[in-house]
């Protein structure tokens, strides 16, 4: 009975991922090698043209900028999220659960709605500027909305939980006697943190970074809403090509390229970590 249920649930997830993950990705791969045609999705004609087009300086600039913003977002999420995860993992169990609930509470609202809310906070006559003006900290409203900073803030706000959760999971089952052993052997807190805690929570850190970095490049509605026309991320580029330019093959090629870059990153980590970190002993 239990076995049948296992087969069913694992099977269902596999089919789901197969159809909506793998199959749709493979479709994109196929389309990315097909020819663009204004009247159809694509023409059945094998070509490298779509990838060749991506070596255009404009695309290259968008790629770089997306990496840059995603990198900053990831770094800030890590800096904010690690201490947060650390503190939660040290709380009594009841408070831990409450904190996690509070952390996930915003997810009960659509992230598009939350981004609109963010707009009203950041706009020229928004809440933030009003408060700062009232406090006399600034004399004229700051231009926040429709800047890269607004996009960065919006992305951090939306993605922070994805950084916190994997690190929290890692820290929560961290063997505290290792910290005591480090102190016992003469390590001060900084040494213990740098040489014991950080290396052993590296899987969580890298997991969190992966979960933040990729969406940070592709959450197009956030840069649409908060960045206006100025901030074009890879996500916007892909969105534009599919929906505005109606150029499916090139959109597909952009997506595939992004996937390949991320895949290479994960592969490098996987190869390195197999040599460096023994998972059996960490977990």
């Amino acid at each position: 009975m239990k076995n049948r249920f296992q087969y069913f649930s694992v099977g269902l997830i596999s089919v789901w991922l197969g159809v909506f993950g793998l199959l749709s990705f493979l479709t994109m791969v196929v389309i990315s090698f097909m020819q663009h045609d204004a009247d159809h999705i694509a023409l059945m004609h094998f070509t490298f043209q779509n990838y060749y087009d991506l070596f255009n300086p404009i695309f290259f600039k968008i790629f770089l900028k997306s990496f840059y913003i995603a990198g900053i977002v990831t770094a800030l999420c890590l800096i904010l999220g690690y201490p947060f995860a650390y503190i939660i993992s040290r709380l009594p169990e009841r408070l831990q659960n409450l904190s996690l609930l509070l952390l996930l509470l915003p997810f009960w609202t659509s992230s598009v709605v939350r981004s609109y809310a963010m707009m009203s906070l950041l706009k020229t006559k928004g809440l933030l500027n009003s408060v700062l003006l009232a406090l006399g900290l600034i004399h004229q409203p700051l231009q926040l909305l429709f800047t890269n900073q607004a996009v960065t803030i919006g992305l951090i706000y939306n993605l922070l939980p994805f950084m916190i959760l994997p690190i929290y999971v890692n820290l929560e089952r961290f063997d505290r006697s290792l910290i005591e052993a480090a102190k016992d052997l003469g390590a001060n807190y900084i040494t213990a943190f740098r040489q014991v805690i950080i290396p052993l929570t590296m899987p969580g850190i890298l997991g969190g970074c992966t979960l933040v970095f990729l969406p940070a490049m592709t959450l197009f509605y956030i840069s649409d809403l908060l960045g206006g026309a100025k901030a074009v991320l890879l996500g916007n580029l892909i969105e534009d090509q599919f929906l505005t330019a109606n150029n499916w093959p090139r959109g597909a090629a952009t997506s595939v390229l992004l996937t390949v870059i991320m895949g290479i990153g994960l592969l490098i980590y996987w190869v390195k970590s197999n040599r460096r970190i023994n998972y059996d002993s960490v977990i």
């Binding site: 063997d175 290792l178 016992d184 052997l185 003469g186 001060n188 014991v196 052993l200 023994n278």
Partner: protein, 366 residues
């Protein structure tokens, strides 16, 4: 050797959330001594060890390490190192780096680190595995890394928290000998926590018996075993046959008691008075069992019937039943010189006694 007290605990109390863990602990550890904290789980022995290490703070009382008040000393300032029960080896570092960790924390030059680590790894016979990770080592090897990592710092005292409890029986026996040899070689004091009385007896210079957060007895292994101060110590360490009796008459020298309808005259070593209730303890190995054919004079002997024979190789353990129904255990050693016959059959009638004076007499508890 200088009989200097390396560690002195005075009036240590500890409570967690209103629950008292340790009460009024006074204890000193001499230089070069192998001291064992022995007690059942939950008696507070690990907490005591952690307080010496600086990982826990006492609720009240004073800890002095080398005559210095340790109250404000952090774990890294105490010159005391711990071998943790779980070993707590750093899984992401190899054996060499694990052992070198403590030295590198002290900013010791890398050439000296390398020299000292290599030396200590040779001492614990791990010189062939410096590049292995803890997960690639056996339990006994991990144990030795944990010890090497702690002693390479040349601590004043090495604290060991049940370090052998996760090893199998044979390995544990070997490690007991190795630890003892290592301690002699290093000449530093060991404070060893265990709940295994056999381990405590075979390794220690001094045993401190802890029960329910109190020190109930302290002394050499022999002293603890032969002269337990209370029934709880006597029953925790080794087995005993216990008779609860009242003293028929007593003077300063001797007292008389009646055990199983037989009168005995014993030396009065505990200042007992007529009418006092006592526990009379006889260790199984002191309980002698004789075939009827061996005995011509059965004065001071219990008649008994053999009800169980357990062959143990070097000994035969017997359980004999007294006429009143009480069961006694007796351990008989094979002694080929005397030609004693230690073959017993179930249901055989035998005589039982003990060498007078080898008994332990304790005031009545409960």
């Amino acid at each position: 050797m200088a009989e200097e007290n390396i560690i002195e605990l005075t009036g240590i109390c500890k409570s967690y959330g209103g629950q008292s863990i340790l009460q009024e602990i006074n204890l000193s550890v001499k230089d070069g001594e192998f001291l064992t904290l022995l007690g059942p789980s939950g008696c507070g022995k690990t907490t005591l060890l952690r307080m010496i290490a600086g990982l826990d703070k006492p609720s009240s009382g004073e800890i002095r390490i080398k005559n210095q008040d340790a109250k404000d000393l952090s774990p890294q300032e105490r010159h005391v190192n711990t071998v943790f029960q779980s070993y707590a080896l750093f899984p992401h570092m190899n054996v060499f780096d694990n052992v070198a960790f403590g030295l590198r924390c002290d900013n010791i030059p890398e050439t000296e680190v390398s020299k000292r680590v290599t030396e200590i790894l040779r001492m614990v016979r791990l010189e062939d595995y410096p590049k292995r990770r803890p997960a690639e080592l056996s339990g006994g090897q991990q144990q030795r890394v944990a010890i090497a990592r702690a002693v390479v710092k040349e601590p004043l005292v090495l604290l060991l928290d049940e370090p052998l409890s996760s090893l199998d029986y044979r390995l544990r026996k070997n490690m007991q000998i190795e630890l003892k040899q290592l301690q002699r070689k290093l000449g530093i004091a060991f404070v060893f926590v265990t709940h295994d009385q056999e381990e405590a007896l075979s390794m220690s210079d001094t045993i401190v018996v802890l029960q329910q957060g109190r020190i109930v007895q302290q002394g050499s292994p022999r002293d603890i075993y032969e002269n337990p101060k209370s029934l709880s110590v006597a029953t925790f360490i080794g087995e005993s046959n216990i008779f609860d009796v009242s003293i028929d008459s007593a003077d300063a020298e001797i007292f008389r008691i009646t055990v199983e309808n037989i009168e005995y005259e014993l030396d009065n070593r505990g200042d007992f008075k007529t009418g006092d209730k006592i526990h009379l303890l006889i260790r199984p190995e002191d309980t002698r069992v004789y075939h009827h054919s061996e005995i011509s004079d059965s004065t001071n002997m219990f008649p008994a019937v053999v009800s169980e024979v357990i062959y143990k190789g070097s000994t035969v353990d017997l359980i004999v039943k007294l006429p009143g129904g009480k069961l006694l255990s007796a351990t008989e050693f094979f002694d080929e010189d005397k030609g004693e016959d230690v073959t017993y059959t179930l249901g055989e009638s035998v005589w039982v006694n003990w060498p007078l004076g080898w008994e332990v007499v304790l005031p009545y508890e409960k």
